[in-house]
């Protein structure tokens, strides 16, 4: 027992010999958790088609058009300068641009000279959607003027006006009447939200906290392989061979030390999630301990097996980072697994990160307890058993 502790302690001293290790142990995981929690798309995101608007008129009419566009369920207006809009349109960053020219006002509408420019990229369906939304907004803003104009036209069909002032007065009265009728117009559509179950249970904070915890703990645990390669290269493994230390004692000391460090790292990240991100990690502490330990053991076991195949420390470090990142990505630690194609969702079940992520989300997102995470913990312990067996069988001091 004393030897196991001594080996684990030695590994901890070696690992934290440089203070820069703290960057990877806690600082980077916290930065990633924070940024991905704040930056990951959530269900509240505005999914409407982006419509770049250039308001050169800056009149009541132009502002009303923009306000109407903002009410649309299809487009999201974004007001830019002409230069910015043209730059985005030319570089195809904007699919559609609406330019409201400087002379667009009530008089121009009355005179029938009012125009707007609508520029669209070729064969773009977003542009079709945006054009209809623009038509709706323009109609809503200008329909009273249009009605007044039509009223004047109808009156002219029934006789001429005595003077221009008479004609203008007729127009003004018709406009007032049209505006009143428009204001009194009833809502002719009602929207009822269906009871479709949400296909994706998703909370960016919970997913980021759980996903980054797994990513940043699995990478150093895979790095056990680099530890073995380093000791092998340095010849310190051979020295251990000359002491009365069995292979099992050495492996247990090394692996348990790394697993304990991983548990400390996970505890710090859980603490951050609980205190800063207000996540309910502490609701089921026993279940949390079980899933975290099972995940750490599985990752440690894979690192052990990797260490028996890889010869140099440099290669082991690179492969640990690559394997950790790829497994995290495929296991749903960066993006919700529910968004993956169905086939990929099935394939990634061969990865421990998938099970670890599901277990953690069962706890923090779905409100599960010990019973709910037992299947995931069982699979992770299965990974640990298989890979530890391979690792111990293949382990050589030289």
């Amino acid at each position: 027992m004393k030897k196991i502790f001594a080996i684990a302690w030695k590994d901890a001293i070696v690992r934290f010999a440089s203070s820069s290790e703290l960057i990877f142990f806690i600082i980077l995981p916290l930065i990633f958790t924070f940024l991905l929690a704040g930056g990951t798309p959530s269900n509240d995101d505005d999914n409407r088609v982006r419509l770049v608007v250039v308001d050169q008129a800056n009149t009541v009419i132009s502002q009303n058009i923009i306000a109407e566009l903002d009410k649309s369920t299809a487009v999201r207006p974004e007001v830019l300068t002409l230069e910015e809009a043209e730059s985005q349109f030319d570089s195809r960053r904007a699919n559609v641009v609406l330019i409201i020219p400087a002379n667009l006002d009530l008089q121009a509408i009355q005179d029938g000279t009012a125009q707007v420019d609508f520029r669209q990229q070729p064969n773009n369906l977003n542009a079709t959607v945006a054009e209809r939304a623009v038509q709706t907004a323009i109609r809503s803003v200008s329909s009273a003027v249009n009605a007044a104009n039509n009223a004047v036209k109808t009156a002219e069909e029934n006789g001429t006006f005595e003077s221009e002032a008479d004609r203008q007065a007729y127009f003004d009265d018709a406009l007032k009447l049209a505006q009143t009728m428009q204001d009194d117009a009833p809502e002719r559509v009602t929207v009822i939200e269906g009871s479709t179950p949400d296909r994706i249970e998703y909370d960016p904070r919970a997913s980021s906290s759980a996903g980054q915890l797994i990513t940043w703990v699995f990478i150093p645990l895979f790095g056990i392989s680099a530890l073995f390669a380093y000791e092998r290269q340095q010849g310190t493994l051979r020295r251990v061979l000359t002491t009365p230390t069995s292979k099992a004692t050495y492996l247990l000391g090394t692996i348990s030390g790394q697993v304990v460090m991983a548990l400390v790292q996970m505890s710090l990240l859980i603490l951050f999630g609980t205190v800063v991100m207000k996540l309910g990690w502490g609701r089921e502490p026993l279940a949390l301990f079980v899933i975290l330990t099972a995940a750490a053991l599985a990752a440690g076991a894979i690192g052990t097996t990797m260490g028996t195949f890889i010869k140099t420390e440099g290669q082991a470090s690179g492969l640990s980072i690559m394997a950790g990142m790829v497994m995290a990505l495929m296991g749903g630690c960066w993006y919700p697994i529910e968004l993956f194609p169905a086939v990929v969702q099935t394939i990634v079940k061969i990865l421990p990160t998938t099970w670890a992520m599901q277990g953690l989300l069962d706890l923090v997102l779905r409100g599960g307890g010990l019973m709910e995470i037992l299947p995931e913990a069982g699979v992770l312990l299965g990974f640990a058993t298989i890979f530890f067996s391979i690792g111990v069988m293949r382990f050589r001091y030289e």
């Binding site: 649309s72 667009l104 520029r119 109609r139 086939v343 990929v344």
Partner: protein, 417 residues
């Protein structure tokens, strides 16, 4: 010049002979791009980055002018690519399909809808009859577009109704016609509305124009692949910087300094080596993704110039880290940290558009953000002429960092005889 070139070539060879370095320079970005292609559905064809074929169910119980006109809108040729309409007859069955996530929305046009707007007998006050849009909450974009199409149709109907009513009422109010004549005029107006329900012209003319060129469908991998390549480019430049300090520790740098080679030539050669290695890495990754993933990066000249500018900017960071650090291990650790931080700040993991504005502004210190912006422009059909901002930013970044690094190198007497 030749010596500088030879030192650069030597460092390029060393980098590509180091298997450990190759894992992070080439294997990791390639495998991660492959993984991203799989999880986004890029390789299975299930990725849909645009709007099309929105499934909608139309239940027309009105069976009159306006109901039919609205149903025609959804089945029109104009919306053929956007909508995938199905005609239903049972509102309850249609709603059930939404609850089962089979469509984005149901549009139920109730019986008497046309009558409520254009009554046959104008004297009878029409009862309000509302269209129902039963929306699927798990498809908010599609449902929102369906609602917008209904809104647009109703705005046309409403404009016609208001326009007609104002014309008649104003004639009466101004005394141009009598109330008795108004009934006749009203009947004529109703008839006109019935035959021409939704075809009123806009008071503001929309001058619609379409840009030249072909339709460009954005490939999600065209964003993800450069994101990963740029992230691991930061590893490469710090790896190159590390070699300067490693050569000093191993004694090969003092040996070089006793040869007839100036310190400027040595430093220039090392920088050139980092630049060559980074460029080679980027071009290999671009070539591999084009070959294996059929990824179109866009205008070849734009891609090459952007790669060179991105590597220049990144090399500046590599030199800066080397100038600040004391040991090769420090360069490795700081380089790896910068690689990851710049990766997330530069948009390699999550699109910068989804980051808070402060983070978006801060991301401008990374070559990743500028270069990714440029690669996205190229993937969207842009050319070299559209890349002036990212290229200028990357070159300026590189120049400033080189100057600062040279000053720091001078203070440390790192490459002095």
């Amino acid at each position: 010049m030749l010596k500088t070139f030879l030192i650069g070539i030597k460092d390029l060879r060393l980098a590509f002979r180091d298997r450990a370095a190759l894992i992070l320079m080439l294997a990791a970005p390639f495998v991660l791009t492959l993984g991203l292609g799989l999880v986004t559905g890029r390789f299975s064809g299930s990725n849909n980055s645009g709007l099309s074929d929105i499934p909608v169910i139309i239940v027309n119980l009105d069976n009159d002018q306006l109901g039919d006109a609205l149903a025609d809108v959804f089945t029109s040729v104009e919306l053929a690519d956007l909508m995938e309409p199905a005609i239903g007859s049972d509102p309850e069955a249609a709603r059930q399909l939404i609850d089962e996530d089979e469509a984005a929305a149901v549009v139920i046009i109730p019986e008497g809808f046309t009558q409520s707007i254009i009554p046959q007998q104008s004297a009878v006050a029409a009862e309000l009859v509302k269209i129902e849009v039963y929306a699927n909450p798990s498809r908010p974009t599609g449902a929102g577009i369906v609602k917008a199409i209904v809104d647009e149709f109703l705005s046309r109907v409403e404009e016609g109704r208001v326009s007609g009513s104002v014309s008649i009422l104003q004639l009466v109010l101004s005394g141009r016609i009598t109330p008795a004549q108004a009934q006749v005029a009203g009947a004529a107006m109703t008839e006109r509305l019935q035959t021409n329900t939704t075809d009123s012209a806009l008071a503001i003319t929309i001058n619609s124009s379409t840009a030249d060129g072909e339709e460009v469908k954005f490939d999600i991998l065209a964003y993800l692949a450069p994101g990963m390549a740029l992230m691991f480019l930061m590893y490469t430049v710090s790896y190159g910087g590390r070699s300067i300090l490693a050569e000093k520790t191993q004694g090969t740098l003092p040996r070089l300094l006793v040869s007839p080679t100036s310190s400027t030539q040595i430093l220039g050669g090392k920088i050139f080596g980092i630049f060559l290695t980074g460029s080679a890495q980027m071009l290999i990754l671009i070539g591999a993704s084009s070959l294996f993933f059929q990824l179109k990066w866009g205008d070849p000249m734009g891609v090459i110039i952007l790669v060179l500018a991105a590597v220049f900017g990144a090399t500046g960071w590599g030199m800066f880290v080397t100038a600040v650090a004391r040991t090769p291990a420090q360069v490795a650790n700081v380089g790896m940290s910068i690689m990851l931080i710049f990766g997330i700040l530069g948009g390699s993991f999550v699109s910068l558009d989804q980051m808070p504005p402060a983070i978006q502004a801060f991301s401008k210190i990374t070559p990743n953000a500028w270069a990714l912006d440029g690669f996205t422009t190229l993937a969207l059909g842009g050319t070299l002429t559209n890349l002036s901002a990212p290229i200028t930013a990357l070159l300026s970044m590189g120049m400033i960092l080189f100057l600062v690094s040279v000053l720091l190198f001078g203070k440390k007497n790192l490459v002095q005889k």
